[in-house]
């Protein structure tokens, strides 16, 4: 398609403006993490590695990071299993109320976090009598992580010709072999993409976590929130933020690569 030059110019300006709007604040955070001034002032005064050194020896930050990784990994794992099973069931079987079940599975992601938080807090403490802790956070995160897996897998199943399963069985594969050799390989990239998204959602979740973590458990977002306005800790928060930006580039790049490969494989 040919685009007239003036239109091209306008589009370029808009794209640059959008990118600037998104990335300039991030760049400021990165620069501030090397700023010798304590007070997050602008422009930066002088360059230092001090905050980086301090951040990586800060017990609170490191333990919060560990907690977040454990929570995200466990919630993602639970979601991978349950989300895949749910989408397989809803794709393969016709039953009364199927649409309603579909909606009920997807709903947690649309619910405001504060509602989910209050509801789960109530259920855990009153009905189930659980002590709030790591387990309750993981369970709570799994409720919305399931949605991303379910959606990804379900969309992939929709695009997958139903004849592929028939073809595998026709050639002598039983149900399990068919899943192993045909269905699962088709789902692999959808599972990975959904898993990365679920991991990311869990990793930066703060509202539901507040309601389900109790006092003993501190995830990284909660640690950042708690330390952000403490004058001594502000530079360290910048370091953690910068670190997270760098770390999150890796899964996104991976997901893009996998997505690209899967697309050419399916075409």
């Amino acid at each position: 398609m040919r685009i007239p030059t003036p239109v091209k110019a306008v589009l370029s300006v808009i794209v640059c403006a959008v990118l600037a709007f998104v990335y300039i604040p991030l760049i400021i955070v990165v620069i501030s993490s090397f700023n010798a001034s304590q007070s997050l002032g602008w422009p930066p005064q002088s360059f230092t590695f001090e905050w980086w050194v301090r951040a990586f020896s800060d017990k609170g930050a490191l333990s919060a990071l560990g907690t977040s990784l454990i929570v995200a990994a466990c919630a993602t794992l639970i979601a991978l299993v349950l989300g895949t099973l749910a989408s397989l069931a809803l794709d393969r079987f016709e039953f009364f109320g199927k649409e309603a079940v579909n909606l009920l599975i997807v709903l947690p992601i649309a619910l405001p976090g504060i509602i989910t938080g209050i509801a789960l807090n109530n259920a855990f403490t009153t009905m189930l009598g659980w002590r709030l802790g790591l387990l309750t956070v993981i369970t709570a995160h799994a409720t919305f992580c399931i949605v991303t897996i379910y959606n990804n897998v379900f969309a992939r199943m929709r695009r997958m010709s139903g004849n592929l399963r028939d073809a595998a069985m026709d050639l002598g594969a039983d149900s399990f072999t068919t899943f192993r050799l045909v269905t699962f390989p088709q789902l692999r990239s959808a599972l990975l993409a959904g898993g990365l998204l679920a991991f990311g959602l869990s990793f930066d979740e703060i509202i539901v976590t507040q309601f389900t973590a109790g006092t003993g458990v501190q995830t990284l977002p909660i640690w950042i929130f708690d330390n952000m306005f403490r004058p001594n800790q502000a530079p360290i928060v910048n370091v953690i933020a910068t670190f997270l930006v760098i770390v999150s580039i890796i899964p996104i790049t991976l997901a893009n690569r996998i997505g690209g490969k899967a697309a050419t494989g399916v075409a």
Binding site: S161, N163, L164, D166, A167, A168, M169, D170, L171, G172, A173, D174, T177, L181, V182, P185, Q186, T264, G265, V266, A267
Partner: protein, 342 residues
């Protein structure tokens, strides 16, 4: 192969209900070993449902299905000695061509070297030897079709089921594949069950054809008999074109009781002023040149009669009064619709 009846496939009273609706009902079929058998009908007539029942992708709600004399209606598709070529080919997109062809051998735990050899042979037979490392997405429709065939025949089935396998190909490739399919069936000597909505394709390829309409079999016969002696109005009009005479028209124009059909090519124009002026007379409504022949539509009272003549026949003007005659032997009596339902 089978010691019993000799029929490769036998269906008795097969019915498949979807809720209140019967997709197929009362289907009786005997398909012989080594036969090229077609199931012909418009979309929704039940032919693909029957194919899926034979393959084992679906279970009949009533009736019995036997393969080589053994009841199979409760067996899963992986326990049946039939293989299917799907309309959309259903090639595994994550596997390359040779891995697709090897799939059936792999799940049968044939050693790797052996299955590679068998798969290569099947690909060579389909003239695809140089494509073994391509992904299905990198192949043309005709090539995918041949991979699907190779994948199905490599496991040496007794019966090959083909669900509109040529439907997605353009006309020229279709005609070429028809010849290849016929050759393949002859060389393998196995039973082919071929589903199509294309009557010409069915007539060209088949030893016998079952014509489906509304979930029921209208007639099972050789292509020649289907064409020259259609049993029902549906068969007469679906297989080729036909002039139909219902009870009233037959009595009035042919002096016969019952329902009859005459093929357009069995009608001829006769001079209106001759001694025997022909049994039908009417006015020319339309005339079309269709390559090797002319089709003339003649209005005979309330009927529209189609007459097919070789190209080069004398011209007929629209509005011209004409007389038409035929040989009595070309008038075919049709079964009434009621006798099918019974």
């Amino acid at each position: 192969m089978s010691e019993s009846s000799g029929a490769a496939i036998s269906l008795r009273g097969v019915e498949r209900m979807f809720g209140e609706v019967a997709a197929v009902a009362g289907v009786d079929l005997e398909i012989a070993e080594g036969e090229f058998f077609s199931m012909l009908g418009p979309s929704g007539s039940g032919k693909t449902t029957v194919l899926r029942l034979i393959a084992g992708f679906d279970e009949p709600t009533a009736g019995a299905i036997e393969l080589a004399g053994k009841p199979v209606q409760h067996l899963a598709s992986y326990d049946r000695d039939v293989n299917t070529v799907f309309q959309d080919y259903a090639l595994f997109p994550h596997l390359n061509v040779i891995e697709n062809v090897e799939f059936g051998l792999r799940v049968r735990r044939i050693p790797k070297a052996r299955r590679r050899q068998l798969a290569r042979e099947a690909l060579e037979r389909m003239r695809l030897a140089s494509f073994e490392n391509r992904r299905p997405g990198e192949l043309s429709g005709g090539q995918r079709q041949r991979v699907a065939l190779a994948r199905a025949i490599v496991v040496d089935p007794k019966v090959l089921l083909l669900d509109e396998p040529l439907g997605a190909l353009d006309k020229k490739l279709r005609e070429q594949m028809q010849i290849e399919l016929k050759d393949l069936q002859r060389n393998l000597g196995i039973t082919f069950v071929f589903v199509t909505h294309d009557q010409e394709e069915a007539l060209t390829l088949s030893d016998r054809i079952a014509v489906f309409s509304d979930g029921q079999i209208q007639q099972v016969d050789t292509p020649e008999n289907l064409y020259s002696a259609p049993a029902t109005e549906f068969v007469a009009s679906f297989v080729g074109t036909s002039n139909l005479f219902d009870e009233q028209a037959a009595l009035r124009h042919l002096g016969l009781t019952g329902r009859y059909t005459i093929r357009p090519e069995n009608l001829r124009f006769v001079a209106t002023d001759s001694a025997e002026p022909g049994r039908l007379s009417g006015t020319v409504r339309n005339r079309m040149f269709i390559g090797a022949s002319h089709r003339t539509i003649v209005e005979v009272d309330d009927l529209e009669i189609s007459v097919l003549e070789p190209a080069g026949s004398p011209n007929r003007e629209i509005g011209e009064a004409v007389a038409i005659d035929f040989n009595d032997s070309d008038v075919r009596k049709l079964r009434t619709t009621e006798s099918i339902a019974a």
